[in-house]
Symmetry: C2
Subunit: 353 residues, 2 copies
């Protein structure tokens, strides 16, 4: 009965394979082992594992028992090879240490896990070369899809489903054939500026970081719209790096040069903290003399002294939309292009009291 298999997988070739790979390895248990122990064929075992029907209740019970007993874990690699589908999603992220990205990636991972997908997180540290290397690895791994939080546009990724999230890709046009999920940064900037205006601020400056990031641009645009509505002058301070030290330095320079803002809209919470450090050194009180808003509603915003009014993006919604869009497309139901813009809201705290 088993004679026909001898040629391909004869008993004599088991413990030590021809090329010697398994010499030190304990006899691996695979679907064939389970089939033999259960007295059925590998096809039946496969059907039970994947619940594809066409087996009896007794057969199923038997197979399950043997699998349990032998602590059998189906080999996903073989399954992936056969199905040309790895059930792995790559996530390209610039900096996982950044709490905003960490939260987003975590939520994406959670959502994917719920759908039985694994997540490979690739940190690029904003390096294009590293991003390219990561992509090559992911393609070699035949990932089912890639989530880009990088802002870089990738054109030649034909065989893999791609979603851009949080940072829109370079040169993005609304009718581009790609999927983009972002939050409403323009409204975020507007809400922050509007809050300061409503509290009576009339000399409002925007503190932003010096990068060409589209999100920052949109936050600035929203800020400008709010000021324009009230016929107030818009002013900006550009910080070289997103660090509190750099922000503190810039704000000191700005004020020493003679400016005296009564409101500060910052494009991240870190910049807001930096601004407060700078102001404190000059003896200027927050919020009495200067009101401040941050962005991201990070843990810092709720804990800092004073607590920081901040624009909150719904990371959970963003992650869910991302995973839904991705899996829809992987499963073949989704359209080529999509553009989701998620709402934001303002969390008011002590810095705008």
């Amino acid at each position: 009965m088993e004679a026909g298999l001898e040629g391909r997988n004869g008993e004599e070739s088991r413990p030590v394979m021809k090329d010697g790979r398994t010499i030190a390895m304990r006899d691996r248990i695979n679907i064939k082992t389970i089939a033999e122990k259960a007295g059925v064929s590998v096809a039946t075992v496969s059907r039970v594992i994947n619940q594809n029907g066409r087996f009896s209740a007794e057969t199923e019970a038997m197979v399950r028992r043997v699998m349990e007993e032998m602590d059998y874990h189906p080999n996903t690699i073989a399954k992936s090879l056969r199905e040309n589908h790895s059930r792995i999603i790559g996530v390209i992220v610039p900096d996982i240490m950044n709490a905003h990205f960490a939260g987003l990636v975590l939520e994406i991972e959670k959502n994917l896990f719920r759908h039985a997908y694994s997540t490979v997180i690739c940190n690029t540290n904003e390096s294009d070369a590293l991003e390219r290397k990561h992509i090559d690895t992911l393609l070699s791994q035949r990932v089912s899809g890639i989530v880009f939080i990088s802002g870089k546009r990738h054109y030649s990724l034909d065989d893999v489903t791609v979603v851009y999230v949080d940072r829109r890709p370079d040169n993005y046009e609304i009718d581009d054939d790609c999927v983009v999920i972002e939050s409403d940064n323009e409204s975020g900037g507007y809400l922050a500026a509007r809050c300061l205006i409503d509290k009576g601020c009339r000399n409002i400056t925007m503190l932003y970081a010096n990068n060409t990031d589209h999100n920052q641009k949109m936050r600035i645009a929203g800020y400008e719209r709010a000021l324009r509505e009230q016929a107030l002058a818009a002013r900006t301070i550009c910080v070289d790096t997103i660090t509190a030290v750099a922000a503190a330095e810039k704000i000191r320079e700005y004020i020493r040069a003679g400016s005296r803002p009564d409101g500060l809209v910052c494009t991240t919470d870190i910049l807001a903290i930096g601004a407060m450090i700078g102001l404190r050194e000059l003896g200027i009180r927050v919020p009495q003399e200067v009101r401040i808003t941050g962005y991201d509603d990070s843990m810092l915003a709720a804990l800092y002294n004073p607590t920081i009014t901040s624009v909150r993006q719904s990371i959970e919604d963003m992650a869910q939309k991302t995973v839904d869009s991705l899996l829809e497309r992987i499963d073949g139901g989704g359209k080529e292009r999509a553009h989701h813009v998620l709402p934001v809201h303002l969390v008011e705290r002590e810095t705008t009291k």
Copy 2:
């Protein structure tokens, strides 16, 4: 010349396979495609890819050119199946949102990437059930190794190399057959308490979180040793959750009940911030009336107002030791058991001025 292959992979079976899987899929390029275009055998292409020698310079150039031209990415899944080695490492982490864990995982990922390993990050949210599910997935994926940052001991993971890091496994004994990498928490607690003593504090209380975590216990032990050396009484406050709100609440209760510490050793920076929030509400000044130390030297510690003296663990060293130990063992050179304890140091800031 190719006739012999017709039976297994004849041209007529390419565009649409028997089971119809590839109907909508573009003709996949694989090692055979490259071999045909380059006019060599698949064995030769494989040798070039893996630099296994036994090919001429011209052959190599030709093969490389074709691979480049066709944007060919060797299928890692097939390679893994054949080699029974996935070059994927699973990392089990309780909470990737925690900056300490995020940093550690990031560094581990970086180190692994350098050795051409991919990292699958599994967030357990401290749930045993989720941890078990993640492990099953990882075993099915035939990962080359698993890094546990979970504190749970796993006994039946025979076929996979395991390293425990940052949190030692349950019931760990120094001569256990497992690999443990942790930082010197006892010294951390000692250094923090010692700093306060040196600044003149005599009534020093320890604020810790209510979990059975071994690291916390060691930090407490170190604190107790420092106080014992000076014949000072050790006192502890246990907070239910590691949140600033809970810590603030506890410290207020403690002081309202009549205690008046002049020093506070906290087992995390968040607890230190919570303590300061609580003290501020009572009008007690830091560091003038109470000096405080945190732990982890998180971003919070450097940014908070006042900046927080904190115990710094070298995350970089911990990650490198982890990856080195893991790969050593995967490559077959490493011993069964190992126990590495990494040094810590104190970063002094305003809260102990």
